[in-house]
């Protein structure tokens, strides 16, 4: 038997969560160190997993399959494709960074920090499981279970309105999740009708579900994912959660955990219900475009920095969803790539804003101004993170946004054109935020703003470096993602369209002559 | 034999019992009404036993009587307990638990 890499990858942070929780009360520093060590260890395993991913190999690799609940046909089935491995990488990279960024946050909330860190590792384990699950119910279980630790992280450690935000977060997502449960059962019932009741994705994808049924089930899945992702008009939980959660928690939430929603669209909703996905694609594309514009406009209208970034995420998730449901190779590759990049850039933005908040104890934009002078490094980091938020080449976000637009343009011209407005609005909300906080005369209350410290630099530098490096050398990442997108789309029966004018054809003809 | 009159009687008794529970405030009388309902059922059982020509229904009727007696014991215990505490046997007085 081969080494169960993926199970280990899940087990390590889970174990870390338990051990962190077991650290005796009052030894918070030790708890943090344990948590960080396990996060880094997980990163190590993730690197090992990524290294073993064989480009050009099987679609799903490192697969494991064991019966879990045989009475219901549920399996502990894991495996990664290109999309999964990329997102696992994101999760593993993000966790130690976020852990380090949240170092002082728990103290600020006057609660036991070990719980906070243990919950973070628990979320990491669940998120990774979601990205590698090859069993529908396994996915569903972690999809839902993830809400609980996140709920506690928001509710216990967040800002003054945290109870409201946490409750809203949980209820929205639980609502979507429960509706999805009905659809999950529906799929299962289909497989039971087909003879072998099973939750194994491989079995379910082989089903030939009637179109009418597909539509209902697809809607059930999409509701959950659209709430999680979040797509307009199911988004209103996110700004509250983003504003009230601690900055690094908000970073992990919208940067990593919410990707499970868009991942679910790619890995479940589309391949399980290809016909329905095609039927509903125009509607979802429309919602995605609305999200892009709506999120951006609302971001412009915000007065609270974290809320603003929350709305930018809605806009960006709009792009991700748009690329997925354009149902083109470039669009979907771009979307998956976008998930990674949005993760990195949103985390960067949130943690930097967190650093600002930790200095000034205010989330309000109006309380800042001229920070650039006393804290140039902070401002610089903020600017770079912001620029990646507005998708400036060659930062990684650019390429993904571009691919999404290009991929959408192939199928939905109008949608792509409107979505392009998003890049103007993005410039507006980011640069206006920068202008209001970092530039201008520095007020007395901000004159002594500390610049980035060592810990903070260690948090921010790898993120920004990664964003730049992936942008300049995106090839491997894109290849890996493309590897997963191709088969997904061929499940749906989509093939890359030929260009209208093919130079190679002409050249070939020329040769013949 | 024609069971209908008996059944009608049983139903009337049952309804009277039900009405008694609903209308009377005194716990004892409400309880008696319940007993009346049980006896209406007994009557029905006996009638049907007679109709079908087997004794199952009559056996049931006997058992029900026994059980009704046990119920009386328990019921009176509870009502007496309440009466001693509250000096009232009105079921409407016992309405602290609500909403």
């Amino acid at each position: 038997m081969t080494f169960p890499w993926l199970t280990t990858l899940i087990a390590v942070p889970a174990l870390g969560a338990v051990l962190t929780a077991l650290v005796p009360q009052g030894r918070s520093r030790l708890a943090k160190q344990v948590a960080l060590a396990f996060a880094i260890l997980t990163l190590g395993f993730a690197v090992a997993v990524i290294a073993q991913f064989d480009l050009g190999g099987d679609r799903f690799q490192l697969t494991e399959q064991n019966e879990w609940i045989s009475a219901l046909g549920i399996y502990w089935a894991l495996g990664v494709d290109g999309i999964g491995v990329a997102l696992v990488g994101l999760t593993a990279v993000a966790t130690p960074i976020v852990a380090l960024a949240m170092w002082p946050e728990a103290e600020e909330s006057k609660r036991d920090p070990k719980v906070y860190f243990a919950l973070l590792l628990a979320v990491e384990a669940l998120t990774i499981t979601a990205f590698v699950a090859k069993d529908l119910l396994l996915f569903y279980i972690v999809f839902e279970a993830m809400l609980i630790p996140l709920y506690f992280m928001i509710g216990m450690y967040g800002g003054p309105q945290r109870r409201y935000a946490a409750l809203k977060f949980l209820l929205y997502n639980l609502f979507g999740g429960l509706v999805m449960l009905a659809a999950v059962i529906g799929v299962y019932a289909e497989s039971a009708d087909a003879g072998q009741a099973s939750f194994l994705l491989a079995d379910l994808m082989a089903l030939d579900i009637p179109v009418e049924t597909q539509r209902w089930l697809f809607l059930g899945f999409m509701l959950a994912f659209a709430i999680k992702a979040p797509l307009w008009p199911f988004h209103t939980w996110l700004p509250d959660a983003a504003a009230e959660a601690t900055p690094s928690n908000a970073a992990f939430l919208s940067g990593v955990a919410d990707k499970v929603g868009t991942f679910g669209m790619i890995a479940l909703a589309v391949p399980l219900f290809p016909q329905a996905a095609e039927d509903f694609a125009p509607v979802i594309v429309a919602l995605a475009v609305i999200s892009i514009i709506y999120g951006a406009l609302l971001a412009i209208g915000q007065t609270d920095m974290k809320r603003l970034i929350g709305y930018t995420s809605i806009s960006h998730f709009g792009f991700i969803v748009l690329g997925i449901f354009a149902l083109t190779d470039r669009g979907m590759t771009g979307s998956t790539f976008y998930m990674i990049n949005h993760g990195l850039s949103t985390i960067a933005l949130f943690v930097i804003v967190g650093f600002m908040i930790s200095r000034r104890q205010s989330r309000l934009i109006a309380d800042y101004g001229g920070i650039q002078k006393p804290a140039p490094k902070l401002a610089g980091a903020f600017l770079i993170a912001g620029l990646s938020g507005l998708a400036l080449p060659p930062l990684a976000t650019f390429l993904s946004e571009f691919l999404v637009i290009v991929g959408t343009f192939e199928e939905y011209r109008a949608a792509a054109v409107v979505a392009t407005l998003g890049i103007v609005l993005a410039a507006l909300y980011i640069l206006w935020l920068y202008q209001r906080t970092m530039t201008g005369p520095v007020g007395e209350e901000n004159a002594d703003t500390r610049d980035l410290g060592l810990r903070e630099t260690i948090v921010v530098a790898p993120l920004l470096a990664l964003i730049l490096a992936v942008g300049v050398f995106p090839r491997t990442v894109v290849d890996v993602i493309d590897e997963g997108v191709g088969p997904t789309l061929s499940d749906v029966g989509v093939e890359a369209p030929d260009p209208l004018v093919s130079v190679t054809d002409q050249a070939a003809e020329g040769d013949e002559e | 034999m024609n069971p209908t009159p008996y059944l009608v009687l049983a139903t009337i008794l049952f309804t009277l019992g039900g009405a008694g529970v609903l209308l009377r405030r005194n716990a004892l009388i409400a309880f008696m009404s319940v007993e009346l309902m049980l006896n209406a059922a007994n009557l029905a059982f006996v009638t049907f036993a007679r109709m079908h020509g087997n004794i199952d229904g009559q056996i049931v009727a006997f058992f029900v009587m026994v059980i009704a007696a046990a119920e009386v014991v328990v019921g009176l215990a509870i009502i007496v307990m309440i009466f001693r505490t509250r000096r009232s046997a009105s079921v409407d007085d016992a309405s602290l638990l609500k909403l």
Partner: protein
């Protein structure tokens, strides 16, 4: 198919002698150094921290001068090849390949790009040197040079890219540098706002770029120059027009052409060397480069070309008119820049007949406008950063070097032979007449207006009477600033002649890239030149009458409606504000309201409704046992009735 193969660079349809692109070997394959040097400079300066504060400017200059030197070496090397074998591809690495869409980070060095490279690095070097003096007292000078280097690197990537997407990296890179440099004095809110405005307006243009790229991908399956140009032949005109118009939108953004012109005047908030390098000599001409580079598309897209001509013509008049009314010397020059780029745009829109002239004018404009801006900077340097020309006057004696070089630039821009501007601008006017008399007339009138406003600038600054502020003590700038002025002055004098006649001239040099085409002129060339000169002299004369013959008030007079309009940038900002900003703000505000009350409110409302239901249903639990019994009895009744009446069909 990659650039490593030898393919035709697609102008095959219309131009003879389309040239082949060769894979670079030898010296040429080190083209990447051109970008790497300033990029490295930027990285070192920006990441190096305070310890480089004292030497930063030198590193910055060294990087650019090194790049310039290397560009000269490459240029000389190119000369050793045949005229039609001077296009080289320099492969670097495959950027990505997504679903069959492959983009390679390759460079293309050909006659067009080397011309730009030399301009960028050459003028760039001079401006870097000038900045040593200009920024001497700024504590963030190191950072300034870092940004400048970053700009040079990005601009070089822009002109050396062999793929539209790679070009776009440079495109956005210069946008970023421009943003950083306009807002360099961040503590000034006006600078920060101007920087943001420049970036955002450019982003509107970028929309066009992105959509043009998307269209190319649909049509050609690629964005690399070679595939797009080779395929343009077989593409539908509708698509080509679309792509052409979208690229024009992008060009409008970057080159401050109508209707995206509004940012350029505000961009003068940046330090003057920035205005000279980025907002006059190089970056703003990127739009022209884009159009010329896309010749293969525009050649086959007549409507798009007409649009380019129209945009160019409108902008050249607009810019000139705005330039007439500005009292801020930099803004007057900025209006002039708009106007001159309008000329280039117009020329580029003329197709093969005008491409080379567009580039020609672009380069000479780079010389004399950099000269003028640096001169203006020198004046400001000596006048406590005063920019209001009504506070200048009679400075020629106080700043002789500045005056002389500025005067040369002045003569060049208004097109007095044999100064540089004469040759390039006159060619454009000729070509415009060759295309359409009306356009030609507009171009000619523009020349007259140019003469008017430049004479006005000249007179208000160096002649007329002193109108200085009390504490002004005008003095000549240090040598580190005047030397670049002399150099640029020399180029303003000799650049035109040199480019036109040395070694066959720039037109022949560019011909393999741009093609060549001649239209019949409605009038003989000599007549046209004479007419143009007459208009120019007329314009200058009017200015002389208005400003030299009468005293210049320190306070600007009310002026006629046209002046008022021109002072307000012909209501460009007012239009933007009324049509875009105000409604946008209103939209944003109302959306926030809708979000809180509507979208979120719907959810919360539903929750409240359920809560209300709960509170109402709760009252069923009265606590009276008899009412419970009643509900049971009713329930029993319902169930019995249901049992008797309803069954699954």
């Amino acid at each position: 198919m990659t650039l490593t193969n030898v393919v035709t660079l697609g102008l095959a349809a219309q131009t003879e002698g389309a040239q082949e692109v060769h894979e670079a070997s030898g010296l040429i394959s080190t083209t990447w150094l051109l970008i790497a040097l300033p990029l490295l400079g930027a990285a070192v300066l920006l990441l190096g921290g305070r310890r480089l504060d004292r030497s930063g400017h030198l590193i910055g200059c060294a990087a650019v001068i090194g790049a310039f030197a290397w560009a000269v070496v490459l240029f000389v090397d190119m000369l050793s090849h045949d005229a039609h074998e001077r296009a080289f591809s320099v492969p670097l690495w495959e950027w990505f390949n997504a679903g069959g869409y492959e983009v390679r980070l390759d460079l293309l060095l050909d006659q067009l790009s080397i011309a730009f490279v030399l301009l960028i690095t050459g003028v760039g070097s001079l401006i870097h040197v000038y900045s040593i003096g200009y920024m001497e007292h700024d504590e963030r000078r190191r950072r300034f040079f870092g940004y400048l280097n970053l700009f040079v690197a990005a601009m070089l990537l822009l002109v050396l890219a062999a793929d539209y997407l790679v070009l776009f990296i440079g495109w956005e890179g210069v946008g970023l540098a421009s943003y950083l440099l306009i807002g360099f004095w961040q503590y000034k809110p006006s600078a920060a706002i101007a920087a943001k405005k420049a970036f955002v307006v450019n982003r509107v243009g970028d929309m066009g770029m992105v959509l043009a790229l998307a269209s190319m991908l649909v049509v050609f399956g690629s964005t690399s120059f070679e595939i797009v140009f080779a395929g343009a032949d077989g593409a539908q005109t509708g698509w080509l027009n679309t792509i052409g118009l979208l690229l024009l939108l992008a060009a409008c953004g970057k080159s401050a052409q109508f209707p995206l012109q509004s940012w350029l005047l505000d961009a003068m908030e940046g330090p003057t060397p920035v205005s000279a390098l980025i907002h006059a000599a190089t970056m703003v001409t990127a739009g022209v480069y884009l159009v010329v580079r896309s010749a293969a598309i525009y050649d086959l897209a007549p409507e798009a070309r007409t649009a380019v001509i129209l945009v160019g013509t409108i902008t050249l008049l607009m810019g000139a008119i705005i330039g007439c009314a500005k009292d801020d010397i930099k803004k007057a020059l900025a209006g002039s820049t708009m106007s001159q780029i309008g000329y280039m745009m117009l020329a580029a829109g003329l197709g093969p007949a005008g491409y080379a002239f567009a580039i020609f004018h672009l380069i000479t404009h780079g010389f004399f406008k950099a000269n003028l801006f640096l001169g203006a900077g020198s004046v400001m340097h000596g006048m406590n950063d005063e920019v209001n020309m009504r506070r200048f006057g009679a400075l020629r004696s106080a700043m002789p070097a500045t005056f002389l070089t500025f005067a040369v630039g002045y003569l060049a821009i208004i097109g007095i032979p044999p100064f540089a501007g004469f040759f390039s601008k006159d060619r454009i006017i000729e070509a415009a007449f060759g295309d359409n008399v009306l356009i030609g007339l507009c171009a000619m009138i523009g020349a007259g207006v140019t003469a008017f406003y430049m004479t006005r600038v000249m007179l208000l600054t160096f002649f007329t009477s002193k109108r200085w502020e009390d504490d002004a003590h005008p003095h000549e700038s240090p040598r580190v600033m005047t030397w670049p002025l002399w150099a640029l002055g020399f180029l303003s004098v000799a650049g035109g002649l040199g480019l036109l006649y040395i070694g066959g001239g720039i037109v022949d040099w560019l011909e393999p890239v741009t093609g060549e085409e001649h239209h019949d002129l409605p009038l003989p060339v000599a007549v046209l030149i004479a007419l143009t000169m007459t208009v120019v002299v007329l314009g200058a004369g009017v200015a002389w009458f208005m400003y030299q013959r009468r005293p210049v008030p320190v306070q600007a007079p009310a002026g006629n409606p046209l002046t008022v309009a021109a002072r307000k940038d012909l209501y460009g900002d007012a239009f933007n504000e009324a049509v875009l900003m105000r409604p946008g703000q209103y939209l944003t505000r109302s959306l926030v309201y809708v979000e809180n009350r509507g979208v979120d409110g719907a959810v919360i409302g539903a929750a409240t409704a359920v809560g209300g239901l709960s509170a109402r249903w709760r009252r069923w639990q009265t606590g009276f046992v008899r009412s419970y019994a009643l509900t049971m009895l009713a329930g029993a009744g319902l169930i019995v009735v249901a049992m008797l009446l309803v069954r699954v069909p």
